[in-house]
């Protein structure tokens, strides 16, 4: 190896970064390693880029950004006079919308104080009262003078006039005190405004520099430059927001129209009928629609109700028809087999509580209700989940519906359920299903999508049909997720037991509802614990069964 190929200057590195003088290959340039402290900042390139970003007043921003880049302290050593003076307008023109909104709101707060001080006249009502009181006092003095002239005793009127005169003086003094306070409110507002302006001036360049850094990463979507159009938008927003807000907060009696949306007048003007609003018209129309649909689909709805009822009846028969010692034994043994001795002991205690307090029948009714809902959820939900797991398009279509089912408050869909299915236990189960089904669908779909592609491919490569892949690979591998979904569904269904008692559902929910109606604290709490124990027993048994910690 000859020395000529070694680069002339191999920096040994002052900052401890050792150079690696490896043997440079022929034709390749030598690479030197330089310590961080020796590296020159390429100002020109940076300046060009900053210039491109700010478009106008480039030299100023280049200087400010350099100062920011070099400073390490908390308080920036730059002050943007334009940002301080023009405030939100500057922020809008530069496209710094976060700063625009923050300081628009803060400045409005300051302006409201100033406005209140200037023309709000906080003592106005008291001053007015002082005036009327003074007039009343004068009136009584006059009456006293008349009485004296008529030779009667004026002392009664004099005393009244004196009292009212004193009250008037007091009001006047208070009004003056308030007026004096107005000046201090205004000064306070001015001080606030000044502080906000200074903060804007100080931090504008910092915020703008952050925006510049973002712009470097994504120049297409981060706003840059100085734009008159944006300044216009900012001014329009300020004009729409600031004057009305300041007016409303400073004037003692603003226009009534600002306090309340004039929906009555608007709907009367549009519909042209007195005493009819958009609301009444839409509500009447909807009611008619729903009634019509309920009549038209009566057979379907009755069929659904009958189907649900048959499941419920079977479960009720099993739980309530069978002698209680048998049911209790079966439950406790199930707990033992599925989830182990500790859960079995807990189950025994919970069942003893329920039975001793006379909740046995209602508790079994609750379990039957929840059980029927869960069975229907699982029977419908798992196939749906499998389908959604396989078809992205079907899942995308169903996703908003599932979201709706979970986010819509239960009370909202209780009403149409009553309209279509009436009241009682089967409609209650339907409401429970709406709330309880999404988790099992979602988690089944999730599990199906989580099955590794290569295992499915392997099964196919060995000649498996689609049905065999589903049976031998997809369902077994998705099973933990599906089971988690079933467990979630069970818990969701349990949480509905009180709500469905609102539409005539029975069981422990009804006990709670009655206690609620009469504010009966004792029965309410006892019933609540009964529901809690039911839920805990079911949850423990199911979870234990899925985890497989039973006595096998």
């Amino acid at each position: 190896m000859t020395d000529t190929t070694v680069p002339e200057q191999v920096d040994s590195g002052r900052g401890g970064a050792a150079a690696v003088p490896g043997a440079p290959l022929a034709g390749e340039p030598g690479i030197t390693v330089t310590a961080a402290s020796d590296i020159e900042v390429n100002r020109d390139e940076l300046d060009a880029s900053i210039g491109q970003f700010v478009e106008e007043r480039a030299p100023y921003y280049q200087r400010s950004f350099h100062r920011i880049h070099e400073s390490t302290g908390l308080v920036p050593r730059t002050f943007n006079l334009w940002a301080a003076v023009a405030g939100p307008f500057w922020a809008a023109a530069r496209g710094v919308w976060g700063m625009f909104w923050t300081f628009l709101i803060l400045e409005i707060i300051a302006w409201v104080q100033i406005g209140r001080g200037l023309w709000g006249n906080p003592g106005a009502s008291l001053m007015e009262r002082a005036g009327t009181q003074r007039a009343r006092a004068d009136e009584f003095l006059q009456r006293a003078a008349d009485a004296t002239a008529a030779g009667e005793d004026p002392s009664r009127f004099e005393r009244l006039a004196e009292n009212i005169g004193r009250a008037a003086d007091k009001s006047l003094a208070e009004a003056e005190a308030l007026s004096a306070e107005a000046t201090s409110i205004m000064l306070y507002g001015l001080a606030l405004l000044a502080v906000f302006k200074i903060v804007q001036g100080l931090y504008a360049n910092r915020v703008y520099e952050k925006q510049y850094s973002k712009w470097r990463i994504d120049p297409a979507s981060v706003e840059s430059g100085f734009s008159r159009r944006r300044a216009g938008i900012g001014a329009a927003l300020v004009a729409a927001i600031a004057p009305l807000t300041i007016y409303k907060f400073t004037v003692s009696s603003p226009w009534a129209v600002l306090n309340e949306f004039p929906e009555k007048r608007l709907s009367e003007a549009v519909l042209g009928v007195e005493n009819e609003t958009f609301f009444t018209r839409l509500a009447t129309w909807l009611e008619a629609r729903i009634d019509a649909a309920a009549v038209a689909g009566a057979d379907v709805f009755d069929g659904v109700t009958a189907g649900v009822r048959s499941v419920l009846d079977a479960l009720t028969l099993a739980l309530n028809g069978t002698p209680w010692p048998v049911v209790m034994t079966v439950i406790i043994v199930t707990a033992w087999r599925a989830a182990g001795p500790r859960v079995a002991i807990f189950t025994t205690a919970a069942l003893a509580y329920i039975a001793l307090l006379g909740y046995w029948d209602v508790a079994m009714e609750t379990v039957a209700l929840v059980g029927a809902a869960v069975i229907i959820c699982v029977v419908i939900g798992i196939p749906l989940g499998i389908w959604f797991g396989k078809s992205r398009r079907a899942y995308n279509a169903a996703e908003p519906v599932l979201d709706l089912m979970q986010t819509l408050p239960a009370f909202v869909y209780l009403i149409p359920i009553i309209a279509f299915f009436g009241t009682g236990n089967p409609p209650g189960i339907l409401a429970t299903i709406i709330f309880g089904m999404p988790p099992v669908i979602r988690l089944t779909a999730l599990g199906m999508r989580g099955v590794p592609e290569n295992i499915k491919e392997a099964a196919t490569a060995f000649g498996a049909s689609k049905r065999q892949v589903l049976k031998d690979v997809e369902i077994p591998l998705a099973l933990p997720s599906i089971m988690a979904g079933v467990n979630q569904t069970i818990l969701m269904c349990l949480s509905m037991v009180v709500i469905i008692s609102l539409i005539g559902g029975g069981g422990l929910g009804k006990v709670i509802l009655e206690a609620l109606q009469y504010a009966a604290k004792g029965p309410g709490l006892l019933g609540g614990f009964a529901i809690l124990f039911c839920a805990m027993v079911i949850d423990r048994i199911v979870q234990g069964a899925f985890r497989g910690d039973g006595a096998r």
């Binding site: 295992i455 392997a458 196919t460 498996a464 065999q468 591998l477």
Partner: protein, 344 residues
């Protein structure tokens, strides 16, 4: 010539919604890969691949990731449908098969081993191996007997009732091989079976696999991104680049006569000692210097390693013989050049 078990002729695979249009355009105008991507938004996975694999051969397909080798091999059992071309298994056109027939061929004639094992985690080792038989409704007693037998072939006796996750990576891949062998298929497709294993285990499995296949006489398509592995295992090697088969040949042919710079760069680092045979570097006898009466002799199929042993102890060149008759010589220059890869 032995019977070809797998035959691919002019197989193309173009991925994308407009694959057929793109194919037609390629046929008519001879578009290149980037042109197809630009005009149709389609990716060419395999470009005009043709080869035959005779019975009992291990045919390696070597290429870097993205070269289309996995795509190509999935055409053999029609996990991927070709856009154009013909694929024959034992003389039957696989593209023409009905679903049921195809499944039967997959289950009986083709075994496949995957890079990431792809074992079913919820089934025991035995049930994993027996799965191809289960698909064909083979009774359980028979299934279990077969799977115990093939597990014996890959030295996994005693692990039948374990779950796959209880086994090490190398053992899992042996389960994968056993599964591929379970239905006694004619053809084995090996999709980078040893790539995910650590080097020592890989060497072990390569040897074990080679011996096993030689014994069972399976026709094998073996995919790898490792040229060393291809050379160690394959009778013939196809080198793929960007969906095109660049060169097909024995290891020696590829190392000694690379078809282009791409292949040349690849084979550069390969040790030639065991690969290059005397006949490819020997010079003609009449060019030999002086008398060669007591020079050492070696067969023309002797490798460089052997020639170095002979040549190290003597100053004279080594005489190369074919069937006992002298046919050429190898002197030190030729030997050293041979080690370099035949540069003259």
């Amino acid at each position: 010539m032995t019977e070809a078990v797998v035959t691919l002729s002019n197989v193309w695979k173009i991925f994308g919604d407009r694959a057929d249009e793109a194919m037609a355009a390629v046929r008519a105008e001879g578009l290149t890969k980037p042109q197809v991507l630009e005009r149709f938004g389609c990716v060419v996975g395999v470009q005009d691949a043709s080869f035959e694999v005779p019975r009992g051969e291990i045919f390696c397909i070597m290429g870097l990731s993205g070269s289309g080798k996995s795509t190509l091999v999935r055409h053999v059992n029609r996990l991927i449908e070709p856009t154009a071309g013909r694929i024959e298994i034992l003389g039957r056109d696989i593209s023409a098969m009905k679903e049921r027939e195809l499944r039967q061929v997959r289950a009986q004639q083709i075994g496949m081993v995957f890079q990431h094992m792809a074992l079913m985690p919820h089934r025991s080792v035995r049930d994993n191996v027996a799965y191809p038989l289960e698909i064909r409704d083979v009774p359980k007693s028979k299934r279990w007997a077969v799977s115990d037998h093939v597990l014996g072939l890959v030295d996994l006796t005693g692990y039948e009732d374990r779950l796959p996750k209880e086994l090490s990576g190398g053992m899992q891949q042996r389960v994968g091989i056993a599964r591929a062998l379970a239905s006694d298929p004619e053809i084995l497709l090996m999709d980078e079976p040893f790539s995910a294993l650590d080097p020592l285990i890989r060497l072990q499995l390569q040897d074990q696999f080679k011996a096993l296949v030689a014994q069972l006489k399976k026709t094998t398509l073996f995919i790898t991104h490792d040229l060393d592995e291809a050379i160690r295992i394959g009778h013939r090697i196809a080198i793929m680049k960007d969906g095109v088969i660049v060169q097909i040949g024995t290891a020696e042919e590829i190392v000694m006569n690379p078809a282009d710079d791409y292949v040349r760069e690849f084979v550069q680092g390969i040790s030639k000692l065991k690969l290059v045979k005397a006949h490819s570097i020997m010079g003609p006898l009449d060019a030999a210097p002086g008398p060669l009466g007591d020079a050492p002799r070696a067969d023309e199929d002797a490798d460089l390693d052997h020639l170095i042993d002979l040549s190290a102890d003597t100053a004279s060149p080594v005489v190369i013989t074919r069937g006992g008759a002298d046919v050429g010589f190898v002197d030190k220059t030729r030997l050293l050049r041979g080690i370099q890869g035949g540069r003259q």
